[in-house]
């Protein structure tokens, strides 16, 4: 038995019974490189502490935008203190005038041109507000600094504290004869309480009570994990454990041999740590206590690792099991470190006792009963762990490493295959645009995916389209007001207010050339993405997106033109109805010369916009949902999605929700009956165009400008009929028109169908 144990112990040390490994020249080079890097590191430290680092060349000048007269007076009078406080004599002040106070880009350009480190922007009416005794409305000074050095932030802070908030205020207060508060209302010193114990003593105390025990714990835990997991679980994984079990060596001996091997491993870090401690320990007795505690800890943790190793069949799974234990023990350590007043029982418990005991041993405040009780309990637990491990090795499921993995995988693969076969849909419930489903996803992910795709794409491209508009807008003085609106936004708490304010912001963008242009481009991109999805991912022809090749050639164009006609008729009748009911009045021709560019951009934007929404809802979503759930649901679902997509626009109401869904349903039926979406694309585009840019109405809550005609609501306009802020889609007029159109559509197609038969 002794020979067996010895053999087992030896086995845990390295596979080939030797620690020799081959090192490549590259590894050597890496080590050399590291050595050089370390040398460089220390050299740089020396340079740093000798204060010989090369200085950085910061910018020197100061830009003052819209300087008020008081500032000029101030700089004249305070010249000395200014040059003392700020960057020195070389500083030059550069004066500029600019209305857009938030125009970072211009300021950055200036700072680069003038080699300036700070820009101070005064509001135009600064003096008027400030040069009176009691200030009612506090103006705001804005500062900007270049991005290249982070240190400019500190410079700005200093400048603000010493010049703007100190000297400058003094100056103005002096001018106005305001009494000066130079003592400060409160004094707030920060004082130490209690006598500091001296940092050396504190360091030693903290070190030996916190750091050293933690090092022991981590060292032992880590080494035990490495060697223990490799011992039994690793052998199971490699398949060599069976051979060992086959030998006449009793199971207990196997456990014991491996245990001793792991324990010897654990002694390596313990020994390394224990040796230097000899010189630090305050007493021999304390050192002995520490020694005993460390040994018992090593024994205990080795036993735990062996037990876990027996439980698992592979190194990885064993490590995963051990990790929580590792963490739990570490948490115990952390609690030990944290508690300044100990629970009286804790020192008697294993782990807790070890942590406290090691620290106490080093500091020479050992309580022997606690240490002894702790060691005895630990040894008992160690024995229990070993017995459990021995028991485990008698159980079949923990000894024979069956190839469970591959079998499990096989079963899984078979199941997946069966599922896949079942999921191949041979018959779709309804076929729209010739789309046939190929694969089936779960219901929830299918519907949510369909509902979220348009939303995701739009919410990606709309903000992107905003960026150029925002940038161009920054240079406009009006932007200052605009940005202040954001400021108000931040103070708003209720969700509805935020939504409303952001809609306001958004409709501001609808006037911007760049925004409209990029919106148009964004819609084209969305169309491209949809085509990509159909062509590349689904590998379907474009006809399943509602764009079949129509014969004869050019009939697609004809269908599009026809759609434009229909659209014009529809929206005109809505407008006519509105006029008829006296809801709106036409203010005549309104297109201005300078908004012609915007007008053209609008046309270019509506073109892909209508198509995009049709492709999303009718062309893509409808056939795919129909194939799975049938046509009625598809129409309902796509219409609701369409309708809800506009739910965040201004003035949205229940009627608007219904109307939009209704229009969508009309378009859907139209597209289904015609077999393509050319016509509805055109209808959608023309509808929006006419509404916004011909009659000058709101398009689903978005007001446009650059309209040919200008219309406005009359005083007697009711929200019910006209739709209010949301535009005609929010009112009953649209409901009426669409209802009529729907009836005509159904009748017409019915006649055509019967005619065909």
């Amino acid at each position: 038995m002794r020979r067996a144990i010895r053999a087992l112990v030896r086995k845990t040390f390295g596979k080939n019974h030797s620690m020799k490994t081959e090192a490549s020249a590259i590894t050597m080079l890496v080590c050399v490189g590291f050595f050089v890097a370390v040398m460089a590191y220390f050299t740089s430290l020396m340079v740093y502490y000798a204060k010989k680092e090369r200085p950085v060349h910061y910018a020197e000048n100061l830009i003052v935008v819209n300087p008020p007269e008081s500032w000029m007076g101030f700089t004249e009078e305070f010249q000395d203190s200014l040059s003392e406080n700020v960057a020195g004599e070389r500083t030059m002040m550069v004066y500029k005038e600019w209305d857009a106070v938030y125009d970072v880009f211009t300021f950055n350009d200036w700072m680069e041109e003038e080699n300036a480190y700070l820009t101070i922007v005064f509001p135009k009416d600064f003096d008027e507000l400030v040069m009176q005794k009691k200030v009612d409305e506090i103006p705001e000074i804005l500062t900007y600094y270049p991005t290249d050095y982070p240190e400019y932030a500190t410079v700005q802070k200093e400048f603000n504290e010493t010049v703007l908030q100190e000297d400058y205020i003094r100056y103005i207060q002096m001018k106005l004869g305001v009494p000066v508060d130079d003592i400060g209302v409160i004094d707030s010193p920060i004082v130490p309480i209690g006598k500091p114990t001296g940092w050396i003593h504190m360091l030693v105390d903290r070190g030996s009570r916190m750091v050293v025990p933690l090092l022991f714990f981590i060292g032992i835990l880590y080494i035990c994990m490495l060697s223990g997991m490799n011992a039994i679980a690793g052998e199971k994984e490699r398949g060599t454990f069976a051979a060992l079990l086959m030998t006449p060596v009793p199971r207990g001996t196997i456990v014991l041999g491996n245990f001793i091997g792991v324990f010897l491993h654990a002694l390596i870090p313990s020994g390394i740590l224990l040796l230097p401690i000899v010189f630090v320990a305050s007493s021999v007795v304390g050192y002995i206590a520490t020694f005993l505690l460390v040994i018992s800890l090593a024994l205990f943790i080795s036993a735990i690792t062996i037990m876990i190793s027996c439980l698992n069949n592979s190194i990885v799974s064993a490590q995963t099991t051990f990790l929580p234990i590792f963490l739990i023990i570490l948490v115990v350590c952390v609690t030990c470190m944290q508690e300044s007043t100990r629970n009286p029982i804790n020192p008697f418990l294993p782990i807790y006792g070890h942590f406290y005991g090691i620290g106490d041993g080093l500091m020479g405040t050992v309580s022997w009963p606690a240490v002894l009780v702790c060691i005895v309990t630990t040894l008992g637990l160690t024995g229990i762990c070993l017995l459990v491990s021995e028991r485990l090795l008698r159980t079949e499921s923990f000894t024979v490493a069956v190839e469970t993995k591959s079998e499990k995988e096989l079963r899984k693969a078979a199941k997946a295959l069966a599922r896949q076969e079942k999921d191949y849909v041979s018959v779709s419930r309804a076929e729209v645009f010739g789309y046939k489903a190929k694969k089936r996803k779960s219901v929830a992910s299918f519907l949510i995916g369909h509902a979220l795709l348009p939303l995701a794409l739009l919410s990606l491209f709309q903000p992107i389209a905003m960026i150029p508009a925002l940038l161009s807008y920054m240079k406009d003085p009006a932007s200052s007001e605009f940005i202040r609106m954001f400021k108000e936004l931040t103070s708003v708490k209720a969700v509805s207010e935020v939504a409303e304010a952001s809609v306001k912001v958004f409709s501001g963008f609808m006037q911007d050339k760049y925004f409209i242009l990029f919106m148009g481009l964004g819609y084209w991109a969305v169309i491209a993405i949809y085509i990509g999805i159909v062509k590349l991912r689904e590998k379907n022809p474009l006809s399943t997106l509602g764009f079949p090749k129509l014969s004869p050639k050019g009939s697609a164009v004809k269908a599009y033109l026809r759609g434009m006609g229909f659209g014009l008729i529809l929206i005109s009748s809505v407008y006519g109805l509105l006029l008829l009911f006296g809801q709106v009045k036409c203010n005549g021709f309104a297109l201005q010369k300078d908004s012609i560019v915007l007008f053209i951009l609008y046309i270019l934007m509506w073109l892909p916009q209508g198509a995009t929404e049709e492709i999303m809802m009718r062309g893509y979503m409808m056939p795919r949902v129909a194939a799975r759930f049938g046509l009625p649901f598809a129409i309902f679902f796509s219409s609701m999605c369409f309708s809800l997509m506009h739910a965040f626009n201004a003035g949205f109401s229940f009627l608007a929700l219904f109307n939009l869904a209704f229009i969508a349903a009309f378009f859907a039926v139209f597209a289904y009956r015609s077999g393509h979406i050319y016509t509805v694309c055109a209808m959608h585009t023309v509808w929006n165009f006419c509404q916004g840019n011909l009659f000058g109405l709101e398009v689903s809550g978005n007001s446009g400008s650059a309209s040919i005609l200008s219309s406005s609501y009359t005083e007697k306009a009711g929200k019910l009929l006209s739709g209010g802020d949301f535009g005609p889609e929010g009112g009953l007029c649209v409901t009426i028109v669409i209802a009529v159109a729907f009836v005509i559509l159904i009748l017409a197609t019915k006649r055509r169908n019967t005619a065909k038969v």
């Binding site: 591959s406 995988e409 096989l410 693969a413």
Partner: protein, 244 residues
């Protein structure tokens, strides 16, 4: 087809593993290398298939020297050994496509070839399973299919029937005979006598790195005056193998 001329191999500074071996394999011939474990069969085959370079001597395949133009040789040989395992996480389908591309088989031909060879070896039902889920025999069959993906002139098989059941090894042997009929040269190493006896036109017996005898199975049996081929091999081995 295969010309091995006075080839020797020495690893680092150890003793010669292969000593002065020469033989030729002609078109449409199956040549067997027979020898005990550690006789140098695998080393010899690795030299022929350009994995190792001979310390002395030269190997020529279809007129190309292994040292000078290994790539031309690699285009012309199919090499199979138990040392080379297939990637366990891939499926036969993926492997076939991958190697098809590496061997520059025209894109449109890959599916055709795949269907043909998968059906021949009954791999089709397993074509989309991962290699690690398959049985040893199936793995070996896939290895064979992939080694022969580019329809090589010269086929070098290191113990192709190792670990296969009788049915599968039968299949493999039939296939080899078929290849022979097509005019391919086959170099085979095995220590299963029945395989060697049935398949090989010529057999070389390798003991301690040298060819001690060469000829067809019958010739060897006759030469050593033995009852059967197995006894002939045994006699040759005891005669030439030196202890220590």
């Amino acid at each position: 087809m295969i010309q091995v001329e006075h080839v020797s191999k020495r690893y680092n500074k150890s003793a010669l593993v292969v000593k002065d071996v020469s033989f030729h394999v002609g078109e449409g011939q199956i040549f067997g290398l027979l020898g005990p474990n550690g006789a140098g069969k695998t080393t010899l085959m690795q030299m022929i298939s350009t994995l190792l370079t001979p310390t002395e001597g030269s190997v020529k395949i279809c007129g190309h020297d292994t040292k000078q133009s290994p790539r031309q040789i690699r285009e012309r040989i199919g090499f199979l050994t138990t040392e080379i395992k297939l990637d366990p996480l891939s499926t036969p389908n993926q492997l076939f496509d991958f190697f098809g591309e590496l061997y520059d088989i025209p894109k449109e031909q890959i599916p055709v070839k795949k269907k043909e060879s998968f059906e021949r070896f009954g791999i089709t039902p397993f074509a989309d399973k991962r290699i690690m889920e398959l049985s040893t025999g199936m793995k070996q069959k896939i290895s064979i299919v992939i080694s022969l993906i580019h329809d090589p002139q010269v086929i070098i098989f290191d113990e192709p029937t190792n670990g296969l059941d009788i049915l599968t090894s039968r299949q493999v042997m039939d296939y080899l005979l078929e290849l022979k009929a097509l005019g391919r040269s086959v170099l085979l190493s095995t220590h299963i006598f029945s395989v060697a006896e049935q398949l090989c036109d010529e057999i070389a017996i390798l003991v301690d790195g040298t060819i001690v005898e060469q000829g067809s199975a019958e010739e060897l049996t006759a030469k050593t005056e033995s009852k059967n081929f197995e006894e002939a091999f045994f006699k040759l081995y005891t005669k030439y193998h030196k202890e220590g």
